[in-house]
Assembly symmetry: D2
Homo-oligomer: 418 residues x 4
């Protein structure tokens, strides 16, 4: 996941920054609250990490890149912990093999909570230092990303339990949007990349121009009902709909439906629940999204098309308030329910490979690891999901996953040529 | 691990049986007491199971084969649990994949403790029923085996943690035996197999005769000091000492020492501790034991030779009291320290394949799964280890593992021809 | 590999088409001539196929898509052979597992030669039929692709032999180009995709516009000498130069140099030969090309940049005659030696993912399998190599491979922003 | 496969030894004659080797252990070949990875034939040297073992070809024996191991005594008809019949019949042929043999029981002439057809682990690699098969394979307790 920031201005007064920090730190604790010590230690696959680790790793980030590097006289809470809570920063030295994170019954949750408190307290003087504002904004965005991963990883872990674990009560049902229609775009040159005030990751820039052909983008995400039609029509048995690697994946892993589906139920943070046919389909892979689009006679949008619609024709993003979706803003079960805007509900696959923008340069130093180093084999996803912290995403945001991965809240929005 | 019993008499009065049951159940709780909920959920490899599972699985055994099958009107505590707590009983239906036991953050330890209490209470009337005495004795022996596995599995799990977890204080040092010399046997026909009163597993019989040639068996287990000489002499780099499969294992897994060794320390239930040169070497595989014996110009004993010495020349086992060793009888860290007898300290590899005795027949029904079904590719180990419950083993006891496995307290005792 | 054609005009008189067909068929035979029956049967990895199979598969293509589908009354030479000589055409039914092609000691080379002759003779009447001209042009391009694969696959197979097999005499040395400098491009809108007369694959279109920023492209391919400097400077040990997946690949496969390097020699179709420092480096993966560019402080071009330079600023391709390189036009060992043009020597990695052009639609039917179905996870390569048939490539040609693959004649040409 | 000999006398006059050598060498050439260069290069799995390699490896043995070590002034035919034709002799240095033998398109068959001729000619003076007689006898037995492997390996390779390759004409049908009944043995002490004049491998000794209980051994091998009844009765779907590892093997590899079965045909060196119900079943694994015996309510014999019957009650082997079976004595397709004796048709699984006899010591030096080094995880097979050279086996012969392997001509003969 991307964790470095462009060096443009993050103009925030110290008190706002400090509040954002505290809110973020507090939300992490809130999300882990329904879990037992054992729940928080589970690692269900190499792609996923224990919830406890998602509490600890951002703390390591704060301690390493802020306190150790910028607070005179700071001593590490525990010198051995960086080995287990560094994720992939080569410049920060050797670390525990990723698939062994699930063996960390120690340190305990309460030890990590204590660490968090100490780190949070030590951070206070740093909010005053203007030159650190960008780095702190990055740290906040980084912890927000791990909040989303914590939710998707623990969902995957609880799903492994044949007894049907849950961690939250089922939320009240909401009425899904029934909007129909298409956003139209006349084509032409679009300005792509982060161009507003505020924080953004380095991979969202530099701003550059892209030439678009006329196209349309659906106002609605593909729904469970539509997906059921695809299944019923033999979508998973029809080789001609699939990418070659996708077809191999379908056959080897015996894929017959989105992840977490069983009969007319699906697995949620509230256990097995009936599936709302009008809610957006989630937990699909790029392979599935692409096959569905082929079946529907349409295609996925490019990341540039999506961003152009999100900005509107004046290049402004205001008309599509990210806050209008059902993104995470409290410790409640994430549940996609069909919002009106482009954001929220689920990350939307594009047909754009996750590759560098023209003149892209990764930031220097360890904190500059890396968006750049993941730029092969993955696809860009746009928008945000019901598990994304409100305010975290934006029109230029680029999420990315491999084409077979589907444990995130991933969905699709169809596009077509005009 | 073997879990069925021969149909010979287990003459125990109800009150003794009931006490043995309660003692055994209590020890299991005692062993798990130092562990957190997360510790007890860890599964570090497919061969190992979580400590919590080792609490639950014997409870499933009691509930299934005693209460369900023999107590009128008994209803299961939870109908879904057999799916996750059955180990390998094909006759009892489908079950969770072995490598997924580590995903069981639920049920919690306290739920399992509650189950244990309910099952224990429900068992009371059954001790009076003579026809169940054998089955109850089997259940006790079965739970004792899982106590040993719990200890070796949690050791392996804590070892995965780079931070050096421990679960007990280091015990007081004891002085290792410095006995030297050989037990001699003149050869001749020996009666092999369980031939005393009391419980035994089905694979310990039938009693049969075996012809032995004259041989000697060392009075002492091979020590860490001797093993260090083997290492220093290039034992792990000398192909000619090794079985072909053993040499492949050494090279593929980059084996250079017994498991848990690092420098002059070794990993214990009390964390990293100095290694006593005079203590028996443990955590070696059959491949290593066989290579060491070749290096020493000797050999491993057969299971028959070992048993013949254990019985003495009159066929009596009294001279070698299993209780003289340092076997487990309280919740304290198992630690091999060089006892005088044949038992205790560590399981001893023999060169005998784990195969059926003449006229061996597995018991009927699910409870008869199975010693027999494991009779290929494994070697017999004799004795007992510091993690074996006192009184659990005997001269005819046959433990068995694959030649590469070494997470048990395994060691070796050399033999030679005369 | 792509095998379908765009439906634009392939204006060729029957006699020319017939000659091109005969020349192509004849070259295939010529390439396999130095091989023994056993050489021609070898399959060294799943990505590669036996030389014999590369003789047979295009013959299956001709027989299936031309003779069977378009020649009344034609009967298959052998009804069982499609099962073993179909490559990946799902619409043509089940086929032999790819990794089992190396088990085909039968049919023999002479049986396949007989089949080829029969098919060639049967083809004669079809050259007159205008509606088949495109399909025949496609078949020719398809067989040319398999000629290149035959050369790279047999090189890989002979390389497995520790005795150092060769199949050709070493060619006379040529003097490599010592041109220096950069092609400059001012940026602007470029027309991309196949836009001339003549055959092209479907993935080369539709023609569309792309907006370029100013850039420069080196006139020379990176040489062995430059690569040795990268190695000497610790390029393969410096994590920060590599993509994350690339670094994992380097460590897992213990990569320390391009494929086929050993000391100051490299393996060729003429066995182990000294490596010319001024010749272009070949047999590198995308991961390596990308790391080298990072080390050099530059970058790989996009496919659009490469094509724009290849066309010249007027969009014409004439200034860069593909025939100026040392591409394959006789049965001689392919050997990159530093030609002046953009083509020849080796395929050049771009940083463009292999993805569909706007409004791309794969052709219908089995013959339309597929360029499209390979559009994930791969990168576009431009140019041609010393093993490409002269005239096969063009400015719009898109070759593609996964980022770890390097058994083709792959190299790199650096680009930089202005 | 075992290749070293006990140091007892092999009393053979030079002319006899020379003739045996020439006959053996000649048979190898004869067996490979029906194969093409490509056939002879195929390697279908790691357990199997190319036919050409089976021609070359024994030649390497003769050149290394006889000519190089014992003929003054001998120079190797080719210094690079030991690297590719050594099998597993660690003391003879590094060698090609086993699974890469199939890449050896060079040297060619005719180069190897030339090598064979040169080696054969150079051997002539050595037959006069009495001290080499044992080593020469060993070399002959070694090459005979590779003749059998050549036949089973090429059968496995041809089977991979979906087109149904064959290498020989189908032999005339023979009438299978319909003998019924049991060999009885009263029990008692039996002398086991090689005890006659003539050559034997080191693992056949030392002679030692074993105590047997009364038992019976069937006079007939289990037939295809009996096996079909096992299949029809759900043998492959009944977990309780199988060893635990066997059941895992059945499920993972989807085993439903002996190897080479399809419908009522089976694959032979003469291609797909109808299966004779009265012929012995072959190409079964230990797991299958054991499950069948459980289904039949009987068991497999021990190796000692089998040998005791083979010797008769006086310990003589004469009554069971190995030559009475249909073993290989000419270059014709091996085909089990139900001979009367214990030998011939197929190797018979015993329930004895392949382990050392008391006081067993492997021979010294490289030639002493190794029967001993394979002594774990395998089972002993007795008898001989239709692919064994006539005169190669004997009552004390111990063949051995892992319990899942079944590409040899393996079958079973039931035993029962009395």
């Amino acid at each position: 996941m991307p964790i470095t920031a462009r060096a443009d201005q993050v103009r925030t007064c110290p008190s706002e920054l400090s509040k954002a920090f505290r809110d973020t730190r507090s939300l992490s604790e809130c999300l882990v609250a329904p879990l037992s010590e054992a729940d928080a230690t589970l690692q269900s696959m190499e792609d996923a990490s224990p919830a406890k680790w998602h509490l600890a790793h951002p703390t390591w980030f704060w301690e390493t890149f802020l306190l150790r590097d910028h607070l005179d006289g700071y001593t590490l809470y525990n010198e051995d912990w960086p080995f287990v809570f560094n994720s992939y920063y080569e410049a920060e030295g050797e670390r525990i093999a990723r698939f062994s994170r699930g063996m960390l019954s120690r340190p305990t949750l309460s030890q990590i909570t204590d660490w968090r408190e100490k780190v949070d307290a030590a951070m206070e003087p740093l909010f005053e230092r203007e030159e650190l504002a960008l780095l702190i904004a990055l740290g906040i965005a980084h912890e927000q990303q791990h909040q989303e991963l914590m939710l998707t990883d623990i969902k995957h872990a609880l799903f492994q339990n044949p007894l049907g674990s849950s961690m939250w009560e089922e939320p009240d049902g909401k009425t899904a949007s029934h909007a129909e229609g298409w956003h139209s775009h006349p084509g032409g040159i679009a300005r792509i990349g982060h161009q507003e005030a505020g924080f953004a990751f380095d991979n969202e820039g530099p701003v550059h121009r892209v030439l678009l052909e006329p196209f349309e983008l659906n106002v609605r995400l593909v729904t469970n009902r539509q997906w059921s039609e695809f299944v019923a029509d033999g979508g998973y048995e029809t080789a001609s709909l699939w990418l070659s690697d996708g077809w191999a994946w379908v056959r080897e892993d015996a894929i017959t439906a989105p992840s977490y589906w069983r009969g007319d139920k699906h697995f949620t943070h509230s256990g097995w629940q009936p599936r709302d046919p009008d809610a957006p389909v989630t937990h699909i892979s790029y392979f599935e999204a692409d096959a569905f689009a082929a079946w529907a006679g349409m295609r996925l949008p490019t990341e540039f098309e999506w961003e152009a619609i999100a900005r509107g024709q004046e290049g402004e993003c205001a008309a599509h308030d990210p806050c209008a979706g059902n993104q995470l803003d409290e410790a409640a079960p994430p549940s996609p329910q069909g919002s009106e805007g482009l954001f929220g509900d689920c990350w939307q696959f594009t047909r754009s490979g996750y590759l560098p923008y023209p003149r892209f340069q990764p930031a220097a130093g360890a904190v500059g690891e890396y968006n750049g180093k993941f730029m092969n084999g993955q696809f860009v996803l746009k928008g945000a999901s019901c598990a994304t912290v409100r305010g975290h995403s934006r029109a230029s945001y680029r999420n990315f996953f491999y084409p077979h991965q589907r444990w995130q809240f991933t969905g699709l929005r169809l596009a077509r040529d005009v």
